[in-house]
Amino acid sequence: MLRRIRLAYMALVYLFLYLPIVVLIVFSFNNSKYSTGWKGFSLRWYGELLSDAQLLDAALNSLTVASLSATCATILGTLAAWALHRYDFKAKKLFQTGLFIVIMSPDIVMGVSLLMLFVAVQLEPGFVTLLLAHITFSLPFVAVTVASRLAGFDKHVVEAAQDLGADEYETFRHVILPMVMPAVLAGWLLSFTLSLDDVIISFFVTGPGYEILPLRIYSMVKLGVKPVVNALCAIMVAATVVVVFASQILLKEKK
């Protein structure tokens, strides 16, 4: 009996979490300008999206920043995770805490603090500032993902490699890296998603000529409910689902 209640409750929570999104997606196919009644199935809003040059620009910009920042964050994060696993150095605890604080920091504080940094060094808000900010908040997530993978690693393999004459770099490159590659790739995918989804930090550090998708959606959303926005959101949700699926598959891989 208790089990039934538990399962029913779980179903309810799933419903709660997914209903709004399902409704949003359903209405993106509604052939009506005002999402009040169902007026028939239509793909016209998706068509409108494709012909909106500004939106496509914003999408391209977002993809650019996401891929570049994910790549840099992955490189730095993987190195960080390896450093923490392999080496013992004086400021190790501090380093770990630093990573943790960046994960926990409220986005708004990160956003305004980075804005202040860029103003102080007179770096114009734009693509570069956006990139730097995105790398910064993605870095710890990669580090954490790769670190969990490294946690179950057999130290003997490293010793064996060193006995065979490999130096630190070679050990890393030829022994460790292939082994943690699934976690590294998962980290890349997660950073990519984080970058595409970020609203608050990007809000503060983006510049005039460089429009990105989440902020564009924010402007559109503030203007009210429009089916075109639904279509855009539906696409982004689909993209997120694909990325999460892919990263989970990578993380579950047993090597």
Binding site: Y18, P20, I21, L76, G98, P106, S113, L139, V229, F245
Partner: protein, 287 residues
């Protein structure tokens, strides 16, 4: 082995330098600016002043702070109450498809919160799903005015942040050894007693992690208040955003940010002190 490897130095130094420049330094800047004076035509005047803190300690602004803290607390509490039974059920699930159900929680966790907030509008607006249902069932005769109220913002916060509570809880509950509960039962404890005496304390780290992941963002997610609250409801996040981008009172905005960070550090110390220690966070967050 005696000469420090270049690779080692690069690996540690590189990331440490990045964090120092882009995480530590900006925060120090905020700290400094919070003690400067405001300048109407520039950003800040280079003179020491406590006006930033004075402004936020003032009656009207103190009210937003306290209101915002209250809402964040309610959000975290609601997420805990709603999320714990769910996480428990999920952890106890004995099916091959367990991963799929887990994935169904991970997806909202990674979906853009703004999109999820927007999705709520379809449910809550005057002609939205909720009102249509209630009117149709005859439960009300006038549409409920939920949108643009504090309630809507609260619902929005809970809705967006629930997965952030569920995942750490799940992580923690999953590690619970069922044999401990059996032992408790063998010793004569009833279901509730077993829960409060065994499960709850052992899942405490998960509860704390989940609370941090819901409480802190609830203070800062200004777009939830903007989209669902009709620009009337103010979270600390809205306040800070206004100070920087509209009112241009950087010292006040910085002071508020410093206080927000202070709250975070307090929570972190509490978490660290509960015996779990910093480096183990990754699994608890369940990324």
């Amino acid at each position: 082995m005696t000469r420090p490897s270049f690779f080692k130095v690069a690996a540690i130094g590189g990331t440490a330098a990045w964090l120092a420049v882009f995480a530590l330094l900006p925060f120090l800047l905020i700290l400094v600016v919070s003690f400067l004076a405001r300048d109407p035509s520039s950003f800040v005047a280079p003179s020491f002043s406590l006006e930033g803190y004075a402004t936020i300690g003032d009656g009207a602004f103190l009210r937003i702070f306290l209101d915002s803290l209250a809402w964040a607390a309610i959000t975290a509490a609601a997420c805990l109450v709603l999320g714990y039974p769910f996480a428990y059920g999920l952890a106890r699930l004995r099916t091959k498809r367990k991963n799929l159900f887990l994935l169904l929680i991970i997806i909202p966790f990674w979906t853009n919160s703004l999109i999820r907030t927007y999705a709520l509008i379809f449910i809550l607006k005057a002609q939205g799903l909720l009102n249509t249902l209630l009117l149709g069932l005859g439960l009300v005769d006038q549409p409920l005015e939920i949108l643009y109220t504090d309630t809507a913002v609260l619902v929005g916060l809970i809705y967006t942040l629930l997965p952030f509570m569920i995942l750490p809880l799940y992580s923690s509950i999953e590690k619970l050894d069922p044999r401990l509960l059996e032992a408790a039962k063998d010793l004569g404890a009833g279901r509730f007693r077993a829960f409060f005496a065994v499960s709850l304390p052992l899942t405490w780290p998960g509860i704390l992690a989940g609370t941090m992941l819901t409480f802190l963002p609830a203070l800062g997610m200004f777009y939830v208040a903007d989209v669902l609250g009709g620009a009337k409801s103010l979270l600390i996040g809205n306040f800070i955003k206004n100070q920087f981008l509209t009112a241009r009172d950087w010292p006040t905005g910085s002071a508020a940010s410093v206080v927000l960070t202070g709250i975070m550090i307090l929570l972190l110390l509490f978490y660290g002190g509960s015996g779990k220690g910093a480096p183990r966070k990754p699994e608890d967050i369940g990324a």
